[in-house]
């Protein structure tokens, strides 16, 4: 599926009802592309781990810096080494549905 070179940004996020809006709102507000999101609760539900599939272009540094400023975001790491196929498999799943 990856016609554009993408990378995955991993976030550890304080888990509460507004956290997702803050993160997706940042992407729309600043015109960043967001190709996919995976999110699941960890640490007994106190935190969530989020994987964001984003374009690996010159705006990535700015995306990471802006994400770091969000109050609910505990950590931001760019996971160049992470297997993108997890998102590919989701697409497969959606196509089958």
């Amino acid at each position: 599926m990856n016609s554009l070179p993408n990378t995955i940004v991993k976030l550890m996020v304080k888990n509460h009802p507004g956290a997702m809006s803050h993160i997706t709102g940042l992407f729309s507000r600043r015109g960043f592309n967001l190709e996919g999101i995976l999110c699941a609760p960890v640490a007994g539900g106190a935190e969530s781990v989020m994987y964001l599939l984003v374009r690996n272009d010159e705006r990535l540094e700015q995306i990471v810096k802006q994400l770091r400023k969000l109050y609910d975001v505990r950590s931001v790491t760019v996971q160049d080494d992470l297997d993108h196929t997890v998102f590919d498999r989701i697409e497969q799943l959606l196509n089958d549905a």
């Binding site: 507004g18 809006s21 803050h22 709102g25 540094e61 700015q62 810096k65």
Partner: protein, 555 residues
């Protein structure tokens, strides 16, 4: 001790040093107002929630401390959003507390329900929807810590009515929220900066609102003096340099002087402090400081490299960094560079037209008439730029204007905040006939509190900056920029119980002096030429050295 959510809020605000709160009560924040009535907090009843937000901004901008405002749910909260967005773009620490419909009603389209939380996400630094009374213990101090830490900004706390009414027993209260210690620059970086400054032939300081927020004006002046470095500032940076200092080159950018923008063009090193390379300051980026290497310091790491990639940078507090940098730099006078700038000054003297009725001369005359320690709030439009060019700003936090959002209607309510925070000072409002109408209802609040505010209306019967752009860039097709019905502002002021008169300058200089000599509010409706333009002006999309100087002429 037992508290309600509302009385706990009052106690926590009071412990944050909040003595004055602006706002308007309504259905969903009545418990808060009930508790307010029994607290020591002074409430200022504004006549529109937006004005409450700007009043808080006027307090925060003029003092550097966080200020607070209240609004009810629905329309109250939505009305407040413009002032919050304004605070976000100019990094002003305010805490807005909004009432929300009771928790069980959230999501049911209840009366006066909007998604205040969702609507405020993109315009706040952070926001909270409080879900239980005990959360207030964490949320209120956190709101102030966030507003004041790092790059300052607005925080919104949305409190459902049932949370305001819920009871809680407490033995002790949390410590007030305070600013986190600012990040320190690396010593190695500062040494590299000092070397870069030493090797530069044409260094230039470019300073803005971040220097004011950091309180680093003395350090900037010291660096400029020690190394013979001229200084250009943004609109938000007026007051950092003494306007009489020969190294002060004034405001750069769209309405900056020819000398200022040429100095930036020729610079081989730009030392950018507490600035964000805003488009009104840079003009076309390709043409901005094209010869310069860049040192960039800003407390917001995300500003570094956002617009212009620096050669050396530090995401740190400017004051602390400069304090250390000033000990590392080699003292020098830079005669050649200063002589080059003096030559530019001779070639392009900053001279207002001889015409006494020119609005720039009016701004200068008002500054002359104002007490030396006056605070001035300025609205948005042509008069704002004439004020920026001609009002000599001698201290930071004494020239308050909506820089980033450019909100017409800012000046009158912001002046109320400045006057309340500085009851010993006279506050001037410079506004236009367009801007004033956007919050003119606040004349009632000013009269009610007898605030010492001198309202000076630059009246040209137009949305002047719109008219100017239509003249210059839209083939003189004037659309919706002229007011065909022109209200009698002096009569309106009198209708609110404020002395008002219509004067012409310089003919009525005596009337001006008399009006200013009386303590208390006054409105002066001052006619200025209808079709005067602000010059210089850099056309949109052009570089700063391509400014227009006069009707039809290029420099």
């Amino acid at each position: 001790m037992q508290y309600s959510g509302a009385s706990l809020l009052m106690e926590l605000l009071s412990r944050q040093g909040i003595g004055i709160v602006a706002g308007i009560p309504g259905g969903a924040n009545l418990p808060i107002y009930d508790a307010l009535g029994q607290s020591d907090l002074r409430h200022i009843l504004v006549r529109h929630e937006q004005a409450g937000g700007f009043l808080a901004q006027g307090m925060a901008r003029s003092t550097g401390k966080a200020a607070a405002c209240f609004a009810t749910s629905g329309p109250g909260a939505v009305n407040l959003l413009t002032a919050i967005a304004d605070a976000k773009l100019d990094s002003v620490p305010i805490v807005a507390v909004t009432g929300q419909v009771a928790s069980p009603l959230i999501g049911t389209d209840a009366f006066q329900e909007v998604d205040t939380y969702g609507m405020s996400i993109p315009v706040t630094k952070h926001n909270f929807l409080v879900r239980s009374v005990s959360e207030l213990l964490e949320v209120v101090p956190e709101a102030f810590r966030i507003a004041l830490s790092g790059r300052q900004g607005p925080v919104l706390i949305d409190i459902p009515k049932d949370v305001q009414q819920a009871r809680i027993d407490l033995d002790s209260l949390p410590a007030p929220g305070v600013a986190d210690p600012p990040p320190e620059p690396e010593g190695g970086l500062l040494a590299s900066m000092a070397r870069l400054i030493a090797s530069a032939e044409r260094p230039l300081l470019y300073v803005g609102g971040g220097v004011v927020a950091s309180g680093a004006e003395e350090e900037v002046r010291a660096l400029s003096a020690a190394c013979g470095i001229p200084v250009v500032c943004t609109l938000m940076g007026l007051g950092i340099m003494d306007p009489d200092d020969p190294l002060h080159l004034g405001m750069l950018g769209m309405h900056g002087s020819r000398v200022t923008n040429l100095a930036v063009d020729r610079a081989d090193l730009l030392i950018a402090l507490g600035v964000r390379f805003d488009d009104r300051a840079t003009g076309s980026l390709a043409g901005f400081a094209p010869r310069a290497r860049v040192i960039h310091m800003d407390i917001d790491e995300a500003e570094i490299g956002k617009i212009r990639r620096p050669d050396i940078s530090a995401g740190c507090d400017v004051k602390r960094a400069l304090w250390r940098l000033n000990r590392l730099v080699a003292r020098t006078t830079r005669e050649a560079w200063r002589a080059e700038i003096d030559a530019l000054r001779r070639e392009y003297p900053v001279a207002l037209p001889a015409d006494d009725s020119h609005p720039g001369r009016l701004a200068a005359a008002l500054a002359e008439a104002a007490p030396e320690d006056a605070i001035v709030t300025v609205d948005v439009g042509q008069h704002q730029m004439w004020a920026a060019q001609s009002w000599p700003v001698r201290r930071t936090r004494s020239f308050l204007t909506s820089g980033g959002l450019g909100t017409m209607g800012f000046a009158l309510p912001a002046a109320m905040g400045a006057a309340l925070a500085h009851p010993d000072k006279t506050v001037f409002v410079l506004s236009g006939d367009g801007s004033l109408l956007m919050n003119i209802q606040e004349l009632a609040t000013i009269a009610e509190n007898n605030l010492d505010i001198k309202i000076c209306v630059f009246n040209n019967g137009h949305l002047g900056l719109v008219r100017q752009q239509q003249e210059l860039f839209y083939g003189k097709r004037y659309v919706a920029s002229r007011f065909h019905a022109q209200p009698d502002f002096a009569a309106i002021a009198r209708g609110f119980g404020i002395p008002g008169s219509r004067i012409a300058m310089p003919r009525d200089e005596g009337a001006l002096a008399r009006a200013l000599s009386v303590k208390g509010p006054v409105l002066l409706d001052i006619a200025v030429p209808e079709t005067e333009n602000v010059y210089p002006m850099v056309p949109p999309g052009k570089s700063n050295i391509e400014s227009i100087w006069s009707h039809g002429g290029n420099a």
